[in-house]
Symmetry: C2
DNA sequence: ACCTGAACACCGTTCAAGT
DNA sequence: ACCTGAACACCGTTCAAGT
């Protein structure tokens, strides 16, 4: 990759990260290019689709979350670890407006640029969930995909309505997730 | 209201209803005007905002749902009635793409054209919820607003991801809503 | 009273022309 | 190899001019 190309890529990414943090993930691509002082064509050359840009911009945070799940998979209290992970996942998804939409849309669409990102999260999440279910703390009939959808729904509520409603929904979901102790 | 004005209003409404059923609530207003064979300015005259149009287009269905809640409020099994109502609410919200977004956004924004519609639903919903809580079947610390957010979240999942995930989320929420029998 | 559509300020996306 | 921006086909919204 040529030096100027690499520089342009980085400029776009920097600007995109900042703008997405403030105005959400569906910012104007034109505006991103403008602020990065780059032609709109250049933006498209490096990131052929909006999802590719989001992916590149948020990769780090997502990989952190994935690592967290991996590290927690071998703990002796997987149930509590899962709950903690779900909490911070929901919080992270809520931080970028519009992100839950892209996440959940991509989860079922293998052709999406975002599909891999979803899997980055669901793969370690699945292990953690399985371990938590094995201890009998978590309902056995829930899949990672169910969990993924639920977490994004909480994030959606947090950014569409108000935060209090989102935390209530999260509690309801976590409550529903736990097995009843007869 | 002049006869031609009334006719134009009706034409717009008819077209809007059909298009929204197919393509969701965020259809192009220009396109609605086009199909209704009406100037774009005429559409804006009758419906100064998109939310006003959605409101007029979906009023009937929403009032039906509200009536249902009212009629159920005096039943002897309010807990079951509430669950049934929540189910059909979630189903209704899922039928129009983008509707949950507008619903939840408007719920906390009294200046919105949609606010009254939300209240049309939450007012009778609140009564039903209170009665269900009085019997001890439903958690006492949940408000109508929490319920409203949760239901719309289920609708959101139904149209963003797939239906199976939405029904699972609904079951988790309903499960969380029930009080634990020790 | 009401209708119309041009006008304005934006988009996303592509692609010929340039270096 | 890469960059640029004009070009195309769309939006939402307003408002002067018409009947």
């Amino acid at each position: 990759m040529r030096a100027d190309a690499r520089r342009n890529r980085e400029r776009v990414l920097t600007e995109a990260r900042q703008m997405m943090k403030e105005d959400g993930v569906d910012v104007s691509l034109r505006e991103v290019a403008r602020r990065a002082e780059v032609g709109i064509g250049t933006l498209y050359r490096h990131f052929p689709t909006r999802e590719a840009l989001i992916r590149a911009a948020l990769m780090d945070g997502i990989e952190n979350l994935a690592r967290w799940a991996e590290d927690s998979a071998d703990a002796e209290d997987p149930g509590e670890k899962l709950v903690a992970w779900v909490r911070s996942f929901a919080l992270g998804a809520a931080r970028y407006r519009g992100l839950p939409d892209h996440m959940l849309s991509a989860a079922t669409d293998a052709s999406s640029n975002f599909y891999r990102i979803c899997q980055t999260l669901t793969a370690p999440g699945e292990k953690l969930l399985a371990r938590a279910q094995a201890t009998g703390e978590i309902r056995a009939d829930v899949t990672v995909d169910d969990l993924f959808a639920a977490v994004n729904a909480v994030g959606w509520v947090a950014q569409t309505g108000d935060r209090d409603r989102a935390t209530t929904l999260l509690e309801l979901v976590l409550d529903g997730l736990r097995t009843r102790t007869a």
